[in-house]
């Protein structure tokens, strides 16, 4: 029997009793054992818990209660999302011993939908980084080439899906942290509209930008996860009601009834995103994707997003400002790492934070404290907010001309481990195509669209606020007509099969 790599297909097999949730979970752990040593995607694996859970889920399936499109399918959760009773380290020494007594709302919803958690995945410390190299728990390797990074900060989640350790995983995206690792690892992901998914239980990095989203083998799997986790949560005041039509579209995608038609879809191509600094191989793959979409009936429209050049500085000012505040609670008093007895209170703070945080977190906390301090607030933070507003307007005018925007996700394919870690500015510039989407609060998807240097390239489709539907439809049309997303790294042969 062949186990598909699609979560939706796996759930269909469970529902039709071709395989049990217990068998599938057992398979998932054999894959984890086979590839984890090479990939290091996980921080905590939960074999006994997952098998216990699989037995419970299977009894519900046997009782005919498999009501969700992912019922009984094993999955993973990024380690900055809280699961009751399981360590939530955030990839940091600071929270190395922290176990939350509550579930993130997204996880509550997935539990109800029959999810089986197998592991918590690696990430850049507090989701700050683009390579999963800043994790206190080691570097996650790219399944396509283990000498390269998996991207970040949701590098563990993307690598786990790409290597077949899991069917799908949750990531979080503050400036590209779902999309860039998806691009680097050749998998699909959605960064939902700000407010579409509850953030309750997501350990905050930059609250006005953070969103939880799915990473999967194809966009349909991601859509299935999104349909479960999206919607208003009374515990998160910034969340909103589920946007209409997502469930119906998903049902027809799963049933494969209607052919996906994107004829007449206006795909915006922003010249500003294809200029200097973009790797030729990446550019060629994304331009080729544009041709494919055109071939499927879409029309290509030239659009302008000139303010993209301000996106990276605005993003780092705003994100770091919020981070400096969000991370202040790690003071050695209540939970997590504490430096232990000290002479006085200030020393406790200094020692705990000095020893508990890694270099990148310290850099961002200091940067953020600086831009908020009196005398600098207007020059930096306020300017950042103004730039954010202008970038939002830029997108609004662009969407008068097109329905989705096609762009690269990252300027390059996955780079070598250690190559950029000592050059933070270069690292930050790698976020150029993704951060503006967070600043504008828009949804975006990333799907594989080719290869460069034998490494996968992901294209980014950005949409109007709460119009995930159009993005998913476009991406699914693309995947129905191409095979980039079914290509797996050779390591995958040892994964789920």
């Amino acid at each position: 029997m062949t186990i598909p790599f699609s979560a939706v297909e796996a759930a269909k097999m469970i529902k039709t009793k071709k395989i049990s949730a217990i068998e599938l979970t057992t398979e998932a752990f054999s894959a984890i054992k086979n590839v984890e040593l090479s990939v290091s995607a996980c921080i905590t694996t939960l074999e006994n818990e997952a098998l216990d859970r699989a037995r419970v889920v299977q009894t519900r399936i046997d009782a005919g209660e498999a009501h969700s499109p992912l019922f009984g399918v094993p999955m993973m959760v990024k380690d900055n999302i809280c699961v009751k009773g399981v360590a939530a380290t955030c990839g940091s020494k600071m929270l190395g011993n922290f176990t939350p007594p509550y579930n993130a709302s997204v996880y509550e919803r997935l539990l109800e939908a029959g999810a089986i958690l197998t592991a918590k995945t690696n990430l850049d410390e507090f989701a700050m980084g683009g390579s999963t190299e800043t994790s206190y728990f080691g570097v996650t390797k790219n399944p396509w080439d283990v000498t390269r990074v998996a991207g970040g900060s949701s590098g563990g989640s993307a690598a786990a899906v790409a290597s077949g350790e899991t069917f799908y995983a949750l990531g979080s995206d503050t400036g590209g942290s779902i999309r860039q690792p998806c691009s680097f690892c050749g998998v699909s992901g959605i960064k939902p509209t700000y407010g579409a998914v509850s953030r309750y239980g997501l350990i905050a990095y930059a609250s006005s930008l953070d969103q939880i989203g799915p990473i999967g083998a194809d966009i349909r799997d991601c859509a299935a996860v999104l349909s479960i986790i999206t919607g208003k949560d009374p515990k998160d005041s910034t969340s909103v009601e589920q946007s209409a039509g997502l469930d119906e579209d998903l049902s027809s995608m799963i049933a494969e009834t209607d052919p996906i038609d994107i004829a007449g879809m206006r795909v915006g191509i922003p010249a500003d995103y294809f200029g200097d600094g973009l790797d030729n191989g990446v550019k060629a793959a994304v331009m080729n994707a544009a041709k494919i979409l055109e071939g499927l009936g879409a029309s290509l429209v030239d659009i302008k997003l000139p303010l993209v050049k301000y996106a990276v500085p605005a993003y780092y000012v705003i994100a770091c400002a919020e981070a400096s505040s969000n991370l202040s609670r790690y003071d050695g008093v209540k939970y997590g790492f504490s430096s232990g007895e000290t002479e006085n209170l200030d020393q406790l703070y200094v020692n705990t934070r000095g020893e508990g945080f890694g270099a990148e977190v310290k850099r961002r906390v200091m940067l953020g404290s600086f831009v908020l301090s009196s005398g600098y607030f207007d020059a930096y933070y306020k300017k950042g907010l103004q730039a954010r507003e202008l970038i939002q307007r830029d997108f609004f005018s662009a969407f008068e001309l097109c329905d989705v925007i096609l762009s690269p996700t990252a300027p390059t394919v996955a780079y070598k481990i250690g190559e950029n870690i000592s050059d933070p500015v270069k690292m930050y510039l790698g976020d150029i195509y993704t951060v503006s989407v967070n600043l504008a609060g828009l949804p975006a998807v990333v799907i594989p669209c080719g290869f460069s240097d034998d490494m996968p390239v992901g294209m980014q489709l950005t949409g109007r606020r709460f119009d995930e539907k159009t993005l998913i439809k476009t991406a699914w049309a693309f995947q129905k007509n191409t095979d980039f997303h079914v290509k797996r790294p050779s390591i995958w042969k040892e994964g789920v099969k």
């Binding site: 509550y102 905050a204 515990k235 400096s324 609670r329 939970y335």
Partner: protein, 477 residues
């Protein structure tokens, strides 16, 4: 040279909502440390605040009572600082768009009615408490108070004397109590005031350098602190010195204040908009609903008691000195239709019973229906006032039904004229010595005779009738 002091007040008031401002935990004072906490108010990672609408309603009520403009588009901001009693290391507060602005409160001052400007009122969350263990030289944190909703009421620098400060605080406290939004207990910290003081030569329009005084835990302490700080500043200036802008801590035991930190060491709170809460929109509908739900305040009550019930100003003041008394009074007055009786019963008898038993007005539990029934018994002369007092005590201590009580204990007044007359005559016959004394001008003898007659009825006769009959009979002798 002569000086005047200039002061402004920042008053923190804990709101009497059932639950905290951003989570569902109880706001009740006390409790074992860290038993009224949840992941949200203890600042656990990943948790988020959800605004308590009742706290907003309380703030609107206070704003309206203090004649403020209510802000339509409210925002919350983070005030960042490290301290162990602040688990998130930031306090959610309002810096840029406070909920109320530009109001005033009128106080009685030595120059007549004076208007104290209200600069703004903003909403925020309270912090926890540190408990120091002197035996072990360790400090513990109690998060129970974390997230209790607070209002900070900031005045303009309109005070010119300690008396004005006290008058303002008393008036403010009265308003907050009658609105039912706070219990305003300074000892429990549900009302706290910081004061900014400067002095300047009389006639000058420029403000002097100010100091901020903290840690006063009674109105008296505030008054003393204001006087002390005014004197201190004048002495510094007179001696040729300059006032240093600083925060000072009042020590009530030493009757003096001490410098805490100067302006140079002032904290930079790095305020920025709270991203976890959406802007709060308060529309006109919400404001007018609050206006309609606004309870009657003490001042209006006093006017009404005097105009409608014919009470004296003194009585009206006593009855409105506690919200619970005023409400009890109104209740009994309405049920019995006898406001003056109701007023007396509360001010004299119930007040005495409360004070004898150390019962605070807010803890007084007495049935207005039963008191009203008792008043009915007394005013229709079914029982005399002495029995009335006993019956009141029975209601107070044992919650008895007064009608049943007087019936079962055969305490109904004996008012039959023939019966009384017979008793008077018998007594006069039995006590010729007293009659003689009375005739010789000894007033005391009259009282003795009344006592004898009353005893014959077991105290249940109406003393008024007994007095009248006795007088008549004595005149006949």
């Amino acid at each position: 040279m002569r000086y005047e002091m200039v002061a402004g007040l920042e008053t923190h008031v804990e709101l009497l909502t059932k639950s905290k401002i951003f989570c569902g935990c109880s706001t009740e004072f006390g409790g074992e440390p860290n038993t009224r906490v949840c992941p949200v108010c203890s600042g656990m990672p990943g948790t988020m605040p959800v605004l308590n609408r009742r706290a907003v309603e309380c703030a609107i009520l206070v704003g309206l009572a203090l004649n403020c403009d209510i802000t339509h588009r409210n925002k919350f901001d983070r005030k960042n600082y490290f301290y162990p009693d602040l688990p998130k290391a930031y306090q959610i507060s309002q810096l840029y768009f406070p909920i109320c602005r530009d109001g005033y409160l009128e106080i009685d001052s030595s120059d007549g009615v004076k208007r104290i400007g209200i600069h703004e009122i903003h909403m925020e969350e309270d912090a926890g408490k540190l408990i120091h263990d002197p035996w072990d030289d360790r400090t513990f944190v109690d998060f129970n108070r974390c997230g209790v909703p607070l209002l900070e009421i900031v005045t303009e620098p309109d005070f010119r004397s300690a008396e004005e400060v006290t008058a303002y605080l008393e008036k403010l406290r009265e308003i907050l109590l009658f609105l039912g939004v706070s219990d305003c207990k300074m000892q429990e910290g549900s009302m706290r005031a910081d004061i900014n003081i400067s002095v300047r030569p009389i006639g000058s329009s420029e403000l002097g350098t100010r100091t901020e005084m903290k840690n006063m835990n009674s109105f008296k302490a505030i008054s003393r602190a204001v006087e002390y700080e005014t004197r201190r500043q004048i002495e510094v200036i007179e001696a040729g010195g300059a006032i240093v802008q600083q925060t000072r801590r009042w020590d009530d035991n030493k009757d003096a204040s001490f410098a805490m930190r100067s302006k140079e060491n002032a904290q930079d709170y790095r305020y920025f908009p709270e991203p976890d809460l959406l802007p709060l929109h308060i529309d006109d509908e919400w404001i007018s609903a609050a206006r309609e739900a606004m309870p009657e305040l003490a001042e209006e009550k006093r006017r009404r008691y005097m105009n409608d019930f014919g009470l004296s100003e003194y009585d009206a003041r006593v009855l409105t000195s506690f919200r619970e008394w005023a409400l009890l009074f109104e209740n009994i007055a309405e049920l019995s239709g006898q406001p003056k009786e109701a007023a007396n019963m509360i001010m004299v008898d119930i007040a005495r019973l409360c004070s004898e038993n150390s019962i605070l007005p807010e803890n007084l539990k007495i049935s207005p229906d039963k008191i009203s029934a008792l008043i009915e018994l007394i005013t229709t002369q079914k029982i005399n006032r002495t029995v009335g007092k006993t019956a009141l005590e029975e209601i107070f201590y044992r919650d008895v039904d007064p009608v049943k009580y007087v019936e079962e204990n055969e305490l109904l007044a004996i008012g039959d004229r023939d019966e009384l007359l017979a008793a008077v005559k018998t007594t006069l016959n039995e006590c010729p010595k007293s009659v003689e004394d009375f005739k010789n001008g000894k007033q005391k003898a009259f009282g003795f005779l009344v006592g004898q007659i009353m005893r014959a009825f077991g105290g249940k006769a109406d003393p008024k009738s007994v007095n009248a009959l006795l007088k008549e009979e004595l005149e006949k002798i």
